[in-house]
């Protein structure tokens, strides 16, 4: 063992062929480290493919608590001949390279530690493993070897496997026996020559580990979601699937009847159509999709905006345009969603910046949608949606449900014939609505996407049209009161501000920390959580001479929207926009800001 040990601060990358069952092994490693109290993050960098193409899983181990992706790869596990040479080349100098020894390719580096792993041999030598399971269990060999070589607690590995296999003893013991075999072989045959080790901490106490899509689904359930119309699409499918998984547990009446319905539609046109119907008829309705689905949903979204129908649309963004990179992350839909529909459209957009917020905005989005009577878009991305994140626990909703301005029989009886679906009674632009099933003879109205009067009658009159559009604009202003405010952090001596949102937050935080520590460049930071922009956004921009707007797309879409909203400050906004499909690194943000600060 070397003298200069590096504890709890490195990244592990595992390269495997897609579909080889490595995700169990990789998440087991991640969870075991998490259970050791060490802050971790895991990123699955996978191809759009079911079987065969190279896939990587990177785990960042960070005693300091940083969870953004790093480019450095100190520990590499090479299980895939197709990516072997590339994987070998990627190992940081001084790092460690573990490889399945049945891969016979030249190893041409002497600046790293090289560890062969007799994966096939160990799997074949265990008579208890059925031959059809050998390939799946084989991945546990590297789990065991890494456990031995890095110091990962085998007991925690077993806990992770028990969680993964829902306490089924047979798969747990089968996999665990391979972990032990790997660890024992490493203890007997490998001599450690790299400096990387882990040591238990207590920095994950009280935290949970989950995916944004699961958090979003659970939050929606606590928000009382009643109708889900959806169509499968990466990376949003697991959101709807999580609803399917948890709704029956959480939302059946005492006599076992459902208070919800989930319909897998024939396409996204129908998925949102069903949600518009359900939202219109008084249900808390939602759908989850990604960019291509958003394109298809645009027509109905415009109708829902104009007819004032509440619904919630989750856009788990992937790389566009077009089919793009279906399994890679992006924040590329923002400008599109901000104007989702033809004609004059204002979209309410929520931007969760943590897994906890995915849960919170899950329930809150319904309150906002029903209060404002309009579609609410919640934008996350593949990185949040599909990767495992440490998170503070989900918090039970701290405000009662807001069902908005809805009138049932008594309400209509009181209003009498003065009721009109699109009348602005309260001066906030938000009218009262009724829903089907209301038995009062005056409750019904005819909903349409054509011009309509405050009484919901067809009209082509110019003044009726402009008055209605002005009211919709006013409603959009009224919405600000109900939207999550941005989170602003200040640092003394800050000369510039950073403005970002969503899954870039961990990388931004790390970049800020290091800019201050290593370069004496403290910064203020506004994390945007909703559009339309709260007044605090304008104030933040006004208070800084330079504001770096960090986002994952080519064009700097948020910067564009800010420029339109605050043209007087346009020259203060500096775009730091980049997207190659991978989750952002703190280094990218730090370097980009340094370059601009030094010029």
């Amino acid at each position: 063992m070397t003298q200069n040990m590096i504890l709890n601060d490195f990244s592990i990358t595992v390269g495997t062929p897609n579909g080889s069952g490595s995700s169990t092994a990789n998440t087991t490693l991640l969870r075991a480290l998490f259970k050791m109290g060490i802050p971790v993050s895991g990123k699955n960098l996978f191809p759009s493919n079911i079987q065969g193409l190279p896939t990587w899983f990177t785990i960042r181990v960070s005693g300091e608590g940083f969870t953004s992706r790093r480019e450095e790869q100190e520990i590499m596990v090479a299980m895939n001949p197709a990516s072997f040479l590339q994987d070998l080349a990627q190992v940081s100098p001084g790092g460690a390279f573990f490889y399945a020894d049945d891969i016979k390719l030249p190893i041409n580096r002497d600046d790293i530690s090289i560890y062969p792993m007799p994966v096939k041999q160990l799997v074949r030598s265990d008579p208890d493993i059925p031959s059809n399971l050998r390939d799946l269990v084989a991945n546990m060999v590297y789990v065991g070897i890494l456990a031995e070589m890095l110091g990962i607690d085998q007991e925690k590995i077993e806990m992770a496997l028990q969680f993964h296999f829902k306490n089924k003893p047979k798969p747990v013991s089968l996999n665990m026996s391979m972990v032990r075999a790997g660890a024992a072989w490493a203890a007997a045959n490998l001599t450690k020559s790299d400096p990387y080790r882990v040591e238990a901490l207590n920095k994950t106490d009280g935290l949970i580990m989950t995916e944004g899509n699961v958090a979003a689904a659970l939050g929606s359930i606590y928000g009382g979601v009643q109708f889900v119309g959806w169509y499968p699409i990466t990376p949003a499918s697991s959101l709807a699937e999580s609803l399917n998984e948890y709704l029956p547990q959480l939302r059946q009446s005492p006599d076992g009847k459902n208070t919800f319905a989930v319909v897998q539609a024939e396409d996204e046109l129908a998925a949102i159509g069903m949600c518009v119907g359900a939202g219109w008829s008084g249900l808390r309705a939602m759908t989850a999709t990604s960019g291509p689905g958003m394109s298809l949903m645009t027509e109905y979204a415009g109708l829902a905006y104009f007819a004032e129908v509440p619904l919630v649309i989750w856009d788990v963004q992937r790389m566009g345009p077009s089919t793009g990179l279906p399994t890679r992350t992006s924040q590329g839909d923002l400008a599109f969603v901000a104007n989702m529909g033809h004609g004059d459209i204002d979209s309410l957009i929520l931007l969760p910046g943590s897994i906890q917020e995915c849960f919170e905005f899950g329930w809150r989005s319904f309150d906002i949608a029903e209060r404002i009577q309009t579609p609410v878009y919640v934008l996350i991305d593949l990185d949040f949606g599909m990767n495992q994140w440490m998170s503070a626990p989900f918090l039970y909703p701290d405000t009662p449900m807001d069902r908005g301005k809805i009138l049932w029989e008594e309400g209509i009886e009181k209003s009498g014939s003065s009721w009109g679906r699109y009348k602005d009674v309260d001066g906030d632009g938000i009218p009262f609505r009724t829903v089907p099933g209301n038995t009062h003879p005056l409750s019904a109205y005819f909903t349409r996407g054509t011009g309509h009067t405050p009484e919901a009658r067809y009209s082509e009159a110019p003044d009726v049209w402009t008055a209605n559009m002005a009211r919709l604009q006013q409603k959009y202003e009224s919405a600000k009161e109900y939207l999550p405010k941005p989170i602003v952090q200040t640092a003394s001596g800050a000369n510039f501000g950073i403005l970002a949102y969503g899954s870039t937050d961990p990388a931004v935080e790390e970049a800020r920390f290091k800019l201050e520590r290593d370069h004496n460049l403290p910064s203020d930071y506004l994390r945007l959580r909703a559009i339309p922009f709260a007044n605090e956004v304008g104030e933040f921009i006004a208070a800084h001479e330079r504001i770096y707007v960090v986002e994952l797309n080519r064009d700097g879409q948020l910067k564009q929207l800010l420029t339109i909203k605050y043209p007087e400050y346009a020259t203060r906004l500096v775009s730091i926009a980049f997207n190659d499909g991978l989750p952002p690194t703190a280094r990218w943000i730090r370097t980009a800001i340094l370059e601009k600060e030094e010029n």
Binding site: Y222, G256, K257, N258, G273, G277, L283, P397, F446, G449
Partner: protein, 364 residues
């Protein structure tokens, strides 16, 4: 029928739910004079009145087009949603979950259902959405001034459009292929038949597709056209005389058979020579008096064969082509609480506070 038809203007007359025919009316039509669609609107008013359906128990739906404008011309006391072109079925599917005790009444057209909306049309059949799905079929786009629709006859010649080169889509065949549970072809000019089938369709649990040939007097009323009044009047070939007996009206006076079992029954054999009865989910009965053919409306293949034969012979076959009264409708499949979902409150919709710990514990 036990309810005598009210005289024109005799709006004081009430049905068994205490409503007059005026309570079923809508706004004045803005379609062309003589449009088949107007006649259908009138029969919807009559059928709902005679079937003693409360307007509040119906949700009207439509897509885009001349036909889709018509829901404002009837049932003003019903909620209605004029949705997007070809996208009515999905909207109706979601809306009917709001209160699963309500019945949908959708009006679409041949452009709306057979062209832009073919996908949603067929998936609504497959899901057996609990609605009457009327296609006011005139073989032409009226609102955009006379282009061919997907149901237009091959060889049809229209001003400005030339000659239609393509074979027509047959709405009823599409519905049958997609496993619709109630399929009828009707002619708007045969008002009584339209009304009786409408009443039966309102009693059917699930989707009832009514392909109603509804001539366009402005753009497609040439004598030779399948969709013209003159063709319908001359070539209509009804399969049977249809009358409908609603369970809530009490025992039938004319036919001895009354369903006495709670479950759906369908008599496979002719009961009284030419009379066939089909019992619906709510105990109502459709009575079919066979005309010149012995027709079994529970045989899907026979329905398809009949349509094919009619097309080959240039007949306009009308009547109830197919019914499967026992299939569960969409919301039946969802094990829903009895209370309409849209009347549930926070108490039923938000899991109890103590559950949050369990959920957090599940997150590793």
């Amino acid at each position: 029928m036990s309810q005598p038809l009210p005289m024109a203007g005799a709006s004081a007359q009430e049905n068994t739910v205490g409503l007059s025919k005026n309570d079923y009316r809508g706004n004045p039509t803005t379609l062309c004079q003589g449009c088949g669609h107007n006649s259908i609107s009138n029969q919807i008013i009559a059928a709902c009145f005679e079937a003693n359906v409360r307007p509040e128990k119906i949700i009207k739906f439509s897509g885009i087009g001349c036909s889709s404008k018509s829901p404002t011309y009837f049932l003003n006391r019903s909620f209605g949603f004029n949705s997007l072109h070809g996208r009515m079925p999905s909207l109706a599917t979601g809306a009917l979950f709001g209160d699963h005790h309500l019945k949908g009444l959708g009006v679409s057209g041949d452009g709306d259902s057979a062209s832009i909306g073919m996908g949603q049309f067929k998936h609504a059949m497959r899901r057996n959405v609990n609605m009457v799905y009327i296609v006011e079929n005139n073989g032409v786009y009226g609102l955009t001034k006379g282009q061919f629709s997907a149901t237009a006859d091959k060889g049809l010649q229209l001003k400005k459009q030339g000659i239609n080169m393509y074979l027509p889509v047959d709405i009823c065949m599409e519905a049958l292929a997609s496993r619709a549970t109630f399929v009828a072809r009707l002619f708007a000019g045969n008002a009584k038949q339209v009304k009786e089938v409408l009443k039966a369709a309102l009693s059917h649990n699930g989707i009832a597709v009514l392909d109603i040939i509804s001539p366009c007097v402005t753009f497609n009323n040439q004598e030779s056209s399948y969709y013209s009044y003159s063709f319908g009047k001359e070539k209509e070939d009804p399969l049977h005389d249809i009358s409908f007996h609603q369970a809530s009206e009490g025992p039938q006076s004319t036919v001895s058979y009354v369903p006495n079992k709670p479950e759906i029954t369908l008599e496979a054999d002719m009961i009284d020579g030419e009379i066939r009865e089909v019992a619906l989910h709510d105990g109502s009965t459709i009575i079919l008096k066979a005309l010149d053919k012995d027709y079994d409306p529970t045989n899907r293949l026979e329905a398809l064969r009949t349509l094919d034969e009619a097309a080959a012979n240039n007949w306009l076959v009308t009547g109830l082509l197919y019914i499967s009264p026992e299939s569960p409708s969409l919301t039946d499949l969802y094990n829903l609480v009895e209370t309409p979902l849209n009347r549930l409150t926070e108490k039923e919709l938000r899991p109890a506070p103590e559950t949050i710990k369990t959920i957090n514990d599940l997150m590793f």
